[in-house]
């Protein structure tokens, strides 16, 4: 039994198989459903642990399956894929617990958890993709399996939001596909190799390569919510909170950003991209998105919408890090993949808690909520401070590396203002919320108190996940220098990419 070839497949299967079984369970069998979900998540965690250890010691884990001559499905674990897989797995476990609590008594839970598991399988498959072809396949699968999650509630608004989501993501997928096919015709099977494979192509191809890059980034940019392709993200807020949490921290948006990282580092190679003059363009697009998202967030009263625009802005830090030539900028971008994920999921969990417990959807309704729900609001505060970039929460580490990288690459002239403006804007739209929550008097009654105040402020399944992820965000910042921390891992990735 060749474990090295089976391990990537098993990592994907550990959520795929339970998901398929869950579809056939009747609505009432929640114990079995919970057991399957948690068993799958824990198994995946164990397998990923093995993967981390193996990749650190330069083991090769690879599975191949031929779909057609010249088109191979490849699952390959390298340092970057392990980073994303770990993030997905840990956050999936936490979100599953949260979703079980959130959807108690909601209809269609078997359908929900079935597609939920498929969504994670697609994300993990995408993370482990060993070539662009495999990446595109899982990318499109991700679109398909997230559609039912966005439309889950079945209301006309949900169906409409899901349709907009689909229009954007399928359009982007088509652009990505065309770029990939074109690249295939020019360069053959595009395996992901650290340092990229395209620099050896003759110069006559360069104009075509530039167009292909544009197509690929546009296709990926839809999911990564690069302006002006971000329109679907605020619309997709109609989904239940666990879906928003998963989509915005882990699955869809990160998949787009992860794809951009892959294309720049492992297909084109960061030096070649710079040579073609494309890195600056990517940086500018990222910068515009960062500022635009933050500005739009200022004007939103609906909490989830404000968080959505904040996501638009924050994910582009990853693209910005990619656009900064040099290992330090790279580290900043890649580590933010993890940090932003943990912080944003905390924010969405807490937003979901406010809505489920007290019926709060708007920021104007949040006066004094810190007294009624202290633990939740503390988690919210930690994550918000991290978003602003306040040490020692994780967000500070990413911004520090981005700034330092920009200085080293000589791009400080325009990157630093962007970073500073963005942090100021982040403060402008998060600090007032914190002020309201902690220091204002609450109104006469909450909009709709679904869960009355008991020993704990809300149900356990809703309370523990944000507390855990907030602690992780804090730990990622405090213990950034420890071995196996996200920062250390990102440093490892950068070193292997630049051949240091």
């Amino acid at each position: 039994m060749n474990w090295d070839a089976w391990l990537p497949v098993l990592v994907v299967a550990s959520s795929l198989l339970p998901g398929l079984v869950i579809f056939f369970l009747s609505e009432g069998s929640h114990r079995l459903r919970t057991a399957l979900n948690l068993a799958g998540a824990i198994l995946k965690l164990v397998l990923v642990g093995i993967l981390i250890w193996g990749v650190f010691h330069e083991h090769v884990y690879e599975s191949r399956w031929t779909l057609a001559p010249g088109l191979e499905l490849v699952l390959h674990a390298d340092t970057l894929s392990v980073l994303f897989v770990t993030l997905s797995t840990v956050l999936w476990l936490v979100t599953t617990v949260y979703a079980i609590g959130y959807l108690e008594k909601a209809p269609h839970r078997s359908r929900f958890f079935g597609f939920f598991s498929l969504c994670v399988s697609a994300t993990v498959g995408l993370a482990l993709a060993g070539n662009l072809f495999t990446f595109v396949i899982f990318f499109e699968l991700l679109t398909l399996v997230t559609y039912p999650l966005v439309a889950h509630r079945g209301t006309p608004e949900a169906v409409r939001g899901a349709r907009i989501y689909l229009a954007y993501t399928l359009g982007g997928g088509m652009l990505l596909l065309i770029g990939t096919v074109w690249l295939h015709v020019l360069a053959g099977p595009t395996a992901f190799v650290e340092g990229g494979i395209l620099s050896s192509l003759p110069a006559a191809y360069h104009p075509q390569l530039k167009i292909i890059f544009l197509l690929l980034i546009m296709g990926l940019g839809v999911k990564a919510a690069l302006v002006p392709l971000h329109g679907w993200l605020p619309q997709a807020m109609v989904a239940p909170a666990p879906v928003s949490a998963l989509l915005h921290a882990v699955a869809v948006v990160k998949a787009g950003a992860f794809g951009i990282v892959r294309v720049v580092y492992d297909v084109y190679g960061v030096n070649f991209t710079d040579q073609l003059g494309l890195l600056t363009g990517l940086g500018i697009a990222a910068a515009i998105t960062i500022v635009y998202g933050s500005v739009m967030a200022l004007f939103q009263d609906n909490l989830k919408k404000r968080l959505a625009y904040s996501t638009v802005s924050q994910v582009s830090y990853i693209a910005l890090g990619t656009a900064i030539l040099g290992p330090i900028g790279t580290i900043g971008g890649i580590v933010h993949l993890v940090h932003q994920g943990i912080m944003k999921i905390t924010l969405f969990f807490t937003a979901g808690n406010y809505a489920e417990t007290l019926g709060i959807h708007k920021i104007s309704e949040m006066n004094g909520v810190g007294r009624r729900m202290p633990a939740t609001t503390l988690a919210f505060s930690i994550a918000a401070l991290g978003m602003i970039g306040v040490p020692p929460v994780a967000g500070f580490v990413s911004k520090w590396y981005l700034g330092l990288g920009a200085l080293e690459a000589g791009m400080a002239a325009w990157v630093m203002p962007v970073l500073i403006t963005s942090s100021v804007l982040n403060a402008a739209y998060f600090l007032p919320v914190l002020y309201r929550a902690w220091f204002r008097e609450p109104g006469p009654a909450w909009p709709a108190e679904h869960i009355p105040a008991a020993r704990f402020e809300t149900s356990a399944a809703l309370l523990w996940p944000p507390v855990i992820t907030a602690t992780l965000a804090l730990a990622a910042g405090l213990f950034a220098a420890a071995p196996y921390s996200p920062l250390e891992w990102a440093t490892l990735i950068a070193h292997r990419e630049y051949g240091l």
Partner: protein, 478 residues
């Protein structure tokens, strides 16, 4: 293996006669025949895979006067698809028809249709092809008019007249070929045909006749009403198999018999018509108010994709790139066969449960029938061309061929067509979401819902994931 070839024609023919003579046990006889035929198709496929192209002369009379049966990779694959689709539709049909008189009329015609399909795919000469083409047309028309309602009869009549027109033109072309080369055997002709006025005229006549039968834009007008008003299992087979048979003939003629005669300009014409089909068909599918009309227009569009391959196949030099494109074409055709059949069967289930198939009023039903909705979703994935369906691999080859030969128009058409297909499929699926709770079992009537589900699953999953050996099989054919 020759037994398998003969069995493929003899078994359904015998079955048709048996169901005619034994109306009371018609269903059992029919399903039994169907199983036997499917086994024969499987045997043939494995025979071709191991031994290469197969050849059999009936009665020992050599080609020229005798009838030769030929099976290569392409025909074996299409025969397997025909068998699986027809078997699944037969199982569905056994639950669909309620009265004995309906069944007595249905089964003999159904098995005759199957015979005609198999015989057409196995024919090695033009005479036999003409006969089987006619048999196919007549049984298809009779089945389409089975319900006896006015819309169905009128549509069937138009289908018949159009089909006859096509056949006459085909026959005229055959006579020109015979006048020029003195033989009707396909293999012999492919060596002998040379460019010249008689060859061009023959090609034009035969192609036009076949294009009428395969409903390529703008000769497609008869298809939507005919497929939409036929009973569900009949629609499934009409869209998935019957029009595919005519397309198969166009493919054989263009790539085998008239290979030296066809010009890139002619191929571009076919490509342009295909592009028109894709855009026109997809647009009308989006506007359709009824599910069956949507599926019928979708067939018009999907056939267009198949014709987009022609300019590519002619522009690519003979070699691995061309083989890849040819394989993509076959993969797309196979996937569409399974997907469209599954879609029509699923629509049939919905139509029987609610008495209508109007899209706007689907809300409650889509939730009451989760297995059927899932079948529609899977079929839809295959029709749009999303991974992991076989259609994704087929469209990949189409896009790659377009990039390689620099024919960007086909790339744009494919992209737009796929997005339109996504629009009309998800318009239907949007109605699957609602507030009503689930029934406790996902599948309500097994015999009706499983065939649709299995066919759709075949298209969306099996073909895409395990289709790689097909390319090797095809090197024996095109």
């Amino acid at each position: 293996m020759t037994d398998a070839m003969i069995g493929l024609i003899a078994l359904p023919l015998a079955g048709a006669l048996a169901t005619l003579l034994l109306p009371r046990s018609a269903t059992a006889v029919a399903i039994g025949t169907g199983l036997a035929t499917t086994v024969a198709a499987g045997l043939l496929l494995s025979g071709v895979a191991t031994q290469g192209a197969l050849h059999y002369e009936i009665g020992g009379w050599s080609a020229g006067l005798g009838i030769a049966l030929r099976a290569d990779g392409l025909s074996a694959l299409l025969l397997m698809m025909t068998a699986l689709v027809a078997l699944a539709a037969s199982v569905y049909a056994s639950a669909y028809f309620n009265t004995a008189s309906e069944r007595a009329r249905f089964w003999p015609l159904w098995l005759l249709l199957w015979t005609a399909l198999n015989a057409l795919l196995l024919s090695g000469d033009l005479f036999n092809l003409y006969v089987t083409l006619e048999l196919l047309g007549l049984s298809a028309v009779a089945l389409a008019s089975l319900s006896g309602r006015r819309a169905a009869v009128a549509a069937a009549l138009r289908y018949l007249l159009v089909g006859l027109l096509g056949s006459m033109m085909f026959l005229a072309g055959v006579s020109l070929l015979y006048a020029g080369y003195g033989t009707l055997d396909l293999a012999a002709l492919s060596h002998m045909v040379a460019p010249g006025p008689s060859a061009w005229t023959a090609l034009a006549l035969m192609t036009t006749g076949l294009l009428l039968k395969t409903a390529l834009f703008p000769l497609h007008f008869w298809l939507p009403p005919a497929h939409a008003s036929a009973p569900a299992p009949v629609s499934a087979v009409l869209s998935a198999l019957v029009v595919k048979a005519a397309f198969y003939l166009v493919l054989r003629l263009w790539l085998d018999v008239f290979a030296t005669v066809v010009t890139p300009a002619a191929a571009n014409l076919l490509g342009l018509l295909g592009a028109g089909a894709v855009l026109w068909g997809s647009w009308h599918a989006l506007q359709a108010e009824r599910l069956k009309l949507l599926a019928a227009y979708s067939t018009v569009a999907q056939l267009g994709y198949l014709f987009l391959f022609f300019p590519l196949l002619l522009a690519l030099p003979s070699g691995p790139a061309r083989d890849l494109a040819a394989g993509g074409l076959v993969m797309l055709a196979l996937t569409h066969g399974f997907a469209k059949a599954g879609l029509f069967l699923a629509i049939g289930v919905i139509q029987q449960r609610c008495g209508h198939d109007t899209i706007r009023q689907l809300d409650g039903t889509a939730q009451r029938l989760p297995a059927t909705t899932f079948a529609i979703a899977l079929a839809g994935v295959a029709l749009i061309g999303l991974p992991p369906s076989g259609a994704f691999l087929g469209k990949w080859q189409l896009l790659a061929g377009a990039v390689e030969t620099g024919q960007w128009l086909w790339l744009v058409v494919t992209a737009v067509g796929s997005l339109l297909a996504a629009a009309y499929i998800f318009k239907v699926l949007g109605h699957a979401f609602g507030h009503r709770p689930y029934p406790n079992q996902p599948v309500t009537v097994a015999r009706e819902e499983w065939p649709a589900l299995l066919l759709a699953g075949m298209a969306a999953l099996v073909l895409g994931l395990s289709g790689a050996p097909m390319w090797k099989l095809l090197e024996l054919g095109i």
